[in-house]
Structures are given as structure tokens and as C-alpha cells.
């Protein structure tokens, strides 16, 4: 089915092709640029092109792919680096050199690579939909191969041993085959049996998060902050040290140098939990700010689909996007080129519902094969001018479970992570505190309350101290100021570039306990000897 280009305006292309479906993938022009049908009209369709349209001409051919925008799912994704359309960047570099020239499709998965398949089912077994039939070893992970039949069927043949992804892994009696990899539309969430309430804390190794604003497995967190507040550094620190199996990191409209830095670090640093190289548990999706805007919009969907795929095998997956504001801006640009009615600040009215729909893909689930897997999401937000009343930050606030406000004034004082302890919150606090009470110390919750109290008191004392000077305060208050200072600099601050970058909960606890014990003993001395402190 081919047609012709009739008109072009920025990334949107009008084509005269009929019989397309909404959101069908389309190849546009002689260079076969990838696009997606966003609107159908009586006389043709409007296509959103995911690559630069510079040089594209009217009259060039257009072809429908017969299926929506998909990603390829199968062994070999882990430690890969992809663009927003899941093209493997390393192989792209080997083929076309250091610059990305548009219009070239390279499969994300290498079909010729050999894998060792260990079947867990045998001929004659009944296979229910979504059941596991065996696994291949992908780095340190068992990559489970699942059946995708819709009704229960009997196996007539199953492979064993060395196999490539182009081969059939098993066959049913009616001839249907199970392949090692398949395509899945990015905008449709992967199926599961049921969603479960989020359980257990997700340890990040960041003291201020684990102690004051804990994350839950299967939860969502948002990190808004102006530029220079350390969003990226914090996200990357979490990506490095979080207690999860697999990390999917999306560099969405951000800096290329930052990604180069991250790749280099992830290839050298070790995962503190497994001892393996960090890159061996990481999938990177990179769409830097100068790569096509429309692909930036697709990139978070590409990434989350891969994350869900590993969740479906019963793994705990962490999804991080930096930054969701750039995604929203891409959405705005596309919306404008479609001449849709804009809402606040030019963003389309469906911004909030799209975002909510996306965040709902997080969660703890019982998978089709009965395992428990989780997908946790952390999104950074870059509010223009550091103004949190803007539409993207507001839309995130309504759905995010943890809100970590990154503060410009803390960043200027070089207090990192610059998490503002008054404005931030975690809706998972109750449940996760029980977890830490149980796993680390029964005193966890008590310490947490005292820590908050000290910080709160310091704030009110600080105002007084600014007027009358610190010398004018009472001894007990001066002691509190001193202790609060210790909490801020020795406990809440954490340098991401030193050994201290990762703080296990036990260490977190022992530091705060040390500080509070010091406070208690000094308080005791004060009571004995009311005129002296130091």
C-alpha cells in the first residue's frame, strides 16, 4: 500500500494514502523515515514523522507498515543503548559514523546471536496463556521465554540448547510457534493478571530519601527542580544504587555530554547489590535535546514497554526519566503542528490525562505466569524559571506518590541532594517505615519524627538568630541549632562523587542515631550545668 506526500509542515506530513489505521506506523519518503498516523481524514491521513523532515519533498512515496509503532522484545536488550525508536545506538554508530543521519532502520535485537535455551516444559504439556516455557541466560538474569497463545494448548515440540532468535523456540499441536522475540505496540501496556498494592520500600542509598521521603516498590516519584539543582545527578545516583534488578533510564531531551558521562561511569562502576558492572543491569534510552522532537515524545513509551517486559518475568524494575518536562514540550510541539486547541501555556488539554495514564503503568503486579514483578517510576521535572505552578509540575503532583522538591537556594549553598525537607513529601511513608522498623531498627520511626522536629525548630530559631545573632539565643536553642547543622551537613548532605554516594539503610540509621545520641547527652549535661554548653 503506497501513496504520496501532499503537504509538509514541520514534523507533520499530510499524505493521500487511504486505508491506514490510527496510530499505524508509516514509512515516509525515499529515506523511509518512521512516522505514525495521528489523524485520519476523508482524503488521506496526517502523519507525525519521528525524524528530521529537512529535505523531504511533496510527491515522495509513503507506505503503511500495517502495524502500530512497536518495540522488539527479546533477549539482548539489557545493557543496550537505544534511541527513542529503539534503534541501537552503538550499532548505528558502527554503520553510519558518529553523526545520526535520518532514515535507517536497524533492529534493536540481533537475530543472529546465539543463545542457550533451557526448556522447563516438555512435549505434550498444556501451556496456558503467558506461561513460561523456559529461559535463556542473559547476563546475570534468567530471561524467561513466555508463550503468547490466547487459549490453553498442547506443545508438540520444544527446542533445547543453542538457538538464535530467528528460530522457533517451541511449537503447539496446531502449528502455532513460540518465538524468542516479538513486537509489542509501545502505547499499549503489557498485560498482567492483577495489580497489587505497592509493598516494601525501595532502598535508594540516598539518606534523605530513604529516611525522610522513602520510595515504595511499584510507586512513583517526581523530582522537580530548576536548573543546577542536581536533578540529573540525583537520578543517576538512584539509578546506580537502587535495590532493584533492572534499571531503565531515559535521557529525554537532555544533554549529550551527560549521557556520555553516564555511559562511561556505568561501564566502570559496580552495582553494590550484585557486585556486577552497573551497565549489566541497565537499559538506556537516549534522545538528546537535539535529536528529533517527535521521537522524544515516543521515547518514554519505548522505554516503559521494555521495562514492563522485564517486570513480566518477575523482576523488580526501576524506570527513570530525565526529564518529563522535555517530553511534555515535545507533546506541545506536536499538538501545535496539528493545530489543536491549546490550554495553559500552549500545552494540549490532554497533557494531564496522558501523564496520568503513563504513570499508571507503574505498579506491583502478579504477572501472567504468576510471578510478582514491580515497576517503579521516577520522573524529573524541569519547571521553567523554577516556578512550580506551571502545568507539567502540577500535572505530576496530582499523580506522583513521592514529591522531592529540589531547592535552588540549597543548591547554591552546595547542599546536595538539594531536597527541601519542608516542601517534599512521601505518600508511602507509613508502609515503608514499617519495613525499615522491621529490617533495620525498631527505632527508625521514632528517629525520623525527632529529625523532622529538629529541622522544623531550627527553621523558626534561625529567623530569630538572624535578628539577635546566634550568641543571643539560649543554650538549649544554640545546642539545637548545632545539632540541626549536623543533621544537615553530616546526614542529609551526601556527595555523589565520593564513597559516601551509596549509604545503606544501616549506615543511614547509625549516622542519625549518632547525632541524636550526641544531642541527648549534651542536653543531659545542660540540665546538670545550666550555664555551659560546648
Amino acid at each position: 500500500m503506497t501513496g504520496k506526500i501532499r503537504g509538509i509542515s514541520g514534523p507533520t506530513v499530510h499524505v493521500d494514502l487511504k486505508g491506514l489505521k490510527l496510530f499505524e506506523r508509516v514509512y515516509v519518503g525515499r529515506d523511509m523515515l518512521t512516522g505514525e498516523v495521528v489523524r485520519l481524514q476523508e482524503d488521506g491521513a496526517v502523519v507525525q514523522v519521528y525524524e528530521s523532515t529537512s529535505g523531504l519533498g511533496v510527491g515522495e512515496p509513503v507506505k503503511g507498515a500495517g502495524m502500530p509503532l512497536t518495540v522488539r522484545l527479546g533477549p539482548g536488550i539489557i545493557s543496550g543503548m537505544f534511541d527513542g525508536l529503539q534503534r541501537p545506538l552503538e550499532r548505528l554508530r558502527d554503520v553510519m559514523g558518529p553523526f545520526i543521519i535520518s532514515g535507517r532502520e536497524i533492529y534493536a535485537i540481533d537475530y543472529t546471536a546465539k543463545w542457550l535455551f533451557s526448556p522447563s516444559k516438555k512435549i505434550g504439556d498444556d501451556i496456558a496463556p503467558g506461561e513460561i516455557i523456559g529461559f535463556v541466560q542473559e547476563r546475570q538474569f534468567k530471561h524467561f521465554i513466555t508463550a503468547r497463545n490466547t487459549t490453553s494448548k498442547k506443545l508438540s515440540w520444544i527446542a533445547d540448547g543453542e538457538i538464535t532468535l530467528g528460530d522457533s523456540f517451541a511449537r503447539f499441536e496446531d502449528g502455532e510457534e513460540i518465538m524468542g522475540c516479538f513486537e509489542w505496540p509501545v502505547r499499549i501496556p503489557r498485560p498482567y493478571r492483577r495489580k497489587l498494592p505497592s509493598s516494601g520500600a525501595l532502598v535508594t542509598g540516598q539518606r534523605s530519601i530513604d529516611f525522610l521521603f522513602p520510595f515504595a516498590r511499584g510507586g512513583t516519584a517526581i523530582l522537580p527542580g530548576g536548573f543546577g539543582t542536581g536533578k540529573t545527578v540525583l537520578e543517576q545516583a538512584i539509578a546506580k544504587f537502587a535495590d532493584v534488578d533492572i534499571v531503565v533510564y531515559v535521557g529525554c531531551g537532555e544533554r549529550g555530554n551527560e549521557m556520555a558521562e553516564m555511559i562511561e561511569e556505568f561501564q566502570t562502576l559496580k552495582d553494590p547489590w550484585s557486585g556486577k558492572q552497573l551497565m549489566e543491569r541497565t537499559i538506556l534510552v537516549v534522545n538528546t535535546s537535539n535529536m528529533p522532537v517527535a521521537a522524544r515524545e515516543a521515547s518514554i513509551y519505548t522505554a516503559v514497554t521494555m521495562a514492563e517486559y522485564y517486570r513480566d518475568m518477575g523482576y523488580h524494575v526501576l524506570f527513570l526519566a530525565d526529564s518529563i518536562s522535555r517530553w511534555a514540550e515535545a507533546l506541545r510541539e506536536i499538538s501545535a503542528s496539528l493545530e489543536e486547541m491549546p490550554a495553559e501555556e500552549g500545552y494540549p488539554t490532554y497533557l494531564a490525562s496522558r501523564l496520568a495514564g503513563f504513570l499508571e503503568r507503574a505498579g506491583v503486579v502478579e504477572t501472567m505466569s504468576g510471578a510478582i514483578g514491580s515497576l517503579t517510576m521516577i520522573l524529573s521535572v524541569s519547571p521553567p524559571g523554577g516556578d512550580f505552578t506551571e502545568p507539567v509540575a502540577q500535572a505530576c503532583l496530582r499523580t506522583g506518590g513521592v514529591f522531592l522538591m529540589l531547592d535552588t537556594s540549597l543548591a547554591h549553598r552546595r547542599h546536595f541532594p538539594a531536597i527541601n525537607w519542608f516542601q517534599s513529601y512521601s505518600l508511602y511513608s507509613k508502609k515503608t517505615t514499617l519495613y525499615y522498623n522491621d529490617k533495620v531498627s525498631p527505632e527508625w520511626e521514632k528517629m525520623q519524627l525527632r529529625c523532622r522536629e529538629i529541622l522544623q525548630k531550627e527553621e523558626s530559631l534561625r529567623e530569630i538568630a538572624e535578628i539577635i545573632g546566634i550568641e543571643g539565643l539560649q543554650d538549649a536553642d544554640r545546642l539545637l541549632m548545632k545539632v540541626a547543622g549536623m543533621v544537615r551537613t553530616d546526614f542529609l548532605s551526601q556527595n555523589s562523587f565520593t564513597e559516601d554516594a551509596f549509604s545503606p539503610p544501616e549506615k543511614t540509621f547509625s549516622i542519625i542515631k549518632g547525632i541524636l545520641d550526641f544531642y541527648d547527652s549534651e542536653l543531659g549535661k545542660l540540665k546538670e550545668k545550666p550555664s555551659h554548653v560546648e
Binding site: T53, L56, L92, P98, G251, A260, T288
Partner: protein, 442 residues
């Protein structure tokens, strides 16, 4: 590919720099067109939008004098390209890449599209090699490294021009570095500024490529000039293996041109009337900085942004800050007390500094000196507020010491007038200062 040029006289409407041409056969987006006015003038334009046979063309010249009926539009079947040759070094061009230094046009070795192509993130090398600007406050505390983009946030009336001139003449690599060139793009220049910069460039003789877009030139040229400059920079860096420092001044003029054109295209305005795609547009320039793994050469960028109303949250500095790897912020207060360069150390930041300093790059003690200077200065600055309330006499001895240190730091370390300091001199100045105040530097 078309076999011949296509010429049309079917202009159906004209508005500002935009014109519609009817019944065009197979135009391309971004295609370069030549517009021939009835009086014989020729201008360049670009295809912006196509709807069937109707093509919207943006003209890069003065459109007064164009009409419907006699104006001819020639479609060239090619996107906008920059002519390139090693001979561009030492030359001065206008915003349309035509020589304005009196010498004849060079013979291009090749032509490259001005928009360039994004560097594959997997092919990028991490920036980590030091570039010496000659200013202590940059080299010592906010170090610039090859492949970085570090803007200067200035305010109207501050001597950013003099600072740029200093960097133009003083920037160099440390010993053993490769071949170094500055590409200088000046956008929306007044004649006063133009003559100032020309004098500076004449003094340099070579080692630069300059693009000067004057304030009275059509705004489209303002959008084009930095793209020519960056295409030239990429060519020198990645084809010729040179280390190129691109200085663009003033990005505020660029953004205003972008807004003007966006409005004339009747696009939806974003914050303060700037188009919603300004982030992506700025990124398409700034992200061209970088290094390539396994390859020689680098493109480093130092754009100057004048913050309207001295407001760092204004969309121009704000979006710039989100794209670049740090910022150098100038301060009116320091300028008032005659400190040059008037860089405010506290909000300034170079994100890529950590890997670019230390043994083998600058000096072993660089990190420690820079951290200590920052810490003591920040403490001193904090105390100034207290001093204003309680007065100097009511403060402790140690607090007074910190206050005095902060003053001395501004006067002796930040302030250096027109002199050039090597990185060694910079670090020694900082170290001596701290020793004089008997501050702990370990």
C-alpha cells in the same frame, strides 16, 4: 533530484518576510530558493511549509520592493549549505557567510548542511581536557573543558564585551594540546560593538573565524549566522582535527529574532511570547558542542546571554541553563566596585569541571584550592547579611576574618583587570590569599 532549476512567477501573497508561491511541483522542506525582485535584486529564501502545490517561503532579505506578478522564485532542489575550506581561518564573514574583510571569497573544499546532524550519544567522548581562558574565576573555580557548553549570563551595561574580547585573545590549550581556533559569531551587533570587535580581531591576526551579523540586517540572518559558525566549527574540529572554541554573542538577540519570526509565522506563543520550541531550537545549536570518541578535535561553546531585566528566570537564560553544562553569572554589584571580570562565584557553576582538573590536567591541588576558596568566600558572603544587621563590632573575630577574606578574594582573585593569568598563577593567587588569612587549606 531534479534535472533543472524550477522557476515560478506564481507568488500569490506577501506578508513581511513570508511569501506564498502557487502551483509548485515537488518542493522540499528546507529547500533553498532564490527570490528575484522586479528591480533585479536577488535574495535567498527557504521553504517553510508545503500544502499540495502551495509553498510558503521565508525570505532572508529585505522584502520591500517585491510584488505579485513580477517576482520570480527559483527552486534549487537543495537544502541550505555552508561552503567550507581551511582558508576560512583568519577571515571575517557576515551572517550569510560572505566575506566582509575586503579579501575575495575562498574556493570551498566542500559544502555541508547548516543544520548539521546530531552526534550519536554512543559516539560522544566525555569532556575532560582543560581549556585555559586566562581568567582566574573561570579557570580556577568554574573550569571550562573541551566539548563543554558554558554560557556567560550578563546584564545590560556590564562589560561582557570586554570579557569576550579577553577570552578571544587569551584562550588557549595547555602545553601539548592540539591545534586551537576560535570561531566567533556576533549577532545583532551595533556599529559601536562591531568596530570594537574588529579591532580585537585585527590584533589577533589569525587563529579565528568571525561571523558578524549587524543589528540592521534582516532577522533571518541572525538565525542563520550561528548555524554557519557551528558548521564551520564542526568542519574544523571533526574534519581537520582542531580544538575549536565557539563564542556566540549575544544569544538574547538570537532569541528575540526567533520570537519575531515565530510571531510573523502566526505560531502559538509560549512564555513571554517566545515560541514553545525555543528549548529545542537552542538545543539544536548548543548540543553541537562535543567530542567524538576515538576522534581528534572538539567543539566547545561559550555563548553570551544578556538577561533581560537582570532576571535569571527569564525564558532565555532559563532555557539556556537547562541545556548548557553550567553558567558564568556576572554581577552588577561587583561591576559597581570596579571588579573585572565581574563574575559572581556563588551562582556560577561548571558541571564538567570535576573531570577536567587535577593532576595531569591542571594541577594536583586544583580541586582542593577551588573547594576551599568557594567555601570561605560563601561563608564570608553569608556573613555580610549579618554584618548589615548587627554591625561589624558585634561580630566574632573569626566572622570578621571571613568577611575580610571575602573582600580580598573579590579584589585580588576575581579582579584581574586586563592581565592574563595562567592556571598556575591562578592557583597560586588563591593559595597565597588563603595563607595570608591563615586559613586551613588541607
Amino acid at each position: 533530484m531534479r534535472l533543472s532549476e524550477h522557476r515560478y512567477r506564481t507568488v500569490s501573497s506577501l506578508a513581511g518576510s513570508l511569501l506564498f508561491v502557487q502551483n509548485v511541483f515537488e518542493a522540499r522542506i528546507g529547500e533553498v530558493v532564490n527570490v528575484l525582485a522586479p528591480d533585479g535584486r536577488s535574495m535567498v529564501g527557504e521553504v517553510l511549509r508545503i500544502e499540495g502545490g502551495t509553498v510558503l517561503v521565508e525570505v532572508y532579505g529585505e522584502t520591500s520592493g517585491l510584488d505579485i506578478g513580477h517576482t520570480t522564485v527559483v527552486f534549487t532542489d537543495s537544502v541550505r549549505k555552508a561552503p567550507l575550506s581551511p582558508e576560512i581561518i583568519g577571515r571575517v564573514f557576515n551572517g550569510s557567510f560572505e566575506p566582509i574583510d575586503g579579501a575575495p571569497m575562498f574556493i570551498p573544499e566542500k559544502q555541508e548542511p547548516v543544520n548539521g546532524f546530531p552526534i550519536n550519544p554512543a559516539a560522544r567522548a566525555r569532556p575532560r581536557e582543560f581549556i585555559e581562558t586566562g581568567y582566574s574565576v573561570i579557570d580556577g573555580l568554574n573550569t571550562l573543558v573541551k566539548g563543554q557548553k558554558l554560557p556567560i549570563f550578563s546584564c545590560a551595561g556590564l562589560p561582557s564585551k570586554e570579557m569576550v574580547a579577553g577570552i578571544l585573545t587569551n584562550a588557549r590549550l595547555t602545553e601539548g594540546g592540539g591545534k586551537f581556533t576560535v570561531v566567533f559569531a556576533a549577532l545583532g551587533l551595533t556599529f559601536h560593538e562591531y568596530s570594537y570587535y574588529m579591532e580585537v580581531l585585527e590584533g589577533m591576526k589569525t587563529g579565528f573565524v568571525a561571523f558578524a551579523n549587524m543589528a540592521d540586517k534582516p532577522v533571518m540572518e541572525r538565525l542563520l549566522a550561528p548555524r554557519f559558525a557551528l558548521t564551520a566549527a564542526e568542519y574544523l574540529a571533526f574534519d581537520k582535527g582542531m580544538d575549536v572554541l565557539v563564542i556566540i554573542t549575544d544569544m538574547t538577540n538570537y532569541c528575540d529574532a526567533l520570537r519575531e519570526i515565530s510571531t510573523s509565522r502566526e505560531e502559538l506563543p509560549g512564555r513571554r511570547g517566545y515560541p514553545g520550541y525555543m528549548y529545542s531550537d537552542l538545543a539544536s545549536l548548543f548540543e553541537r558542542a562535543g567530542r567524538i570518541r576515538g576522534g581528534k578535535g572538539s567543539v566547545t561553546m561559550l555563548p553570551v546571554v544578556t538577561m533581560p531585566e537582570d532576571d535569571i528566570t527569564h525564558p532565555i537564560p532559563d532555557l539556556t541553563g537547562y541545556i548548557t553544562e553550567g553558567q558564568i553569572v556576572l554581577s552588577r554589584d561587583l561591576h559597581q566596585v570596579n571588579i573585572f571580570p565581574p563574575v559572581d562565584v556563588l551562582p556560577s557553576l561548571s558541571r564538567l569541571m570535576q573531570k577536567g582538573i587535577g593532576a595531569g590536567r591542571t594541577r594536583e591541588d586544583h580541586r582542593s584550592i577551588s573547594n576551599h576558596l568557594y567555601k570561605y568566600y560563601a561563608a564570608g558572603r553569608d556573613l555580610r547579611r549579618l554584618e548589615a544587621i548587627v554591625g561589624r563590632d558585634a561580630m566574632t573575630k573569626n566572622d570578621i576574618l571571613m568577611l575580610d577574606f571575602a573582600d580580598a578574594f573579590e579584589r585580588e582573585f576575581v579582579n584581574q583587570g586586563l592581565s592574563r593569568r595562567s592556571i598556575s598563577e591562578t592557583l597560586d593567587t588563591g593559595l597565597d590569599l588563603m595563607k595570608r588569612f591563615s586559613l586551613d587549606t588541607s
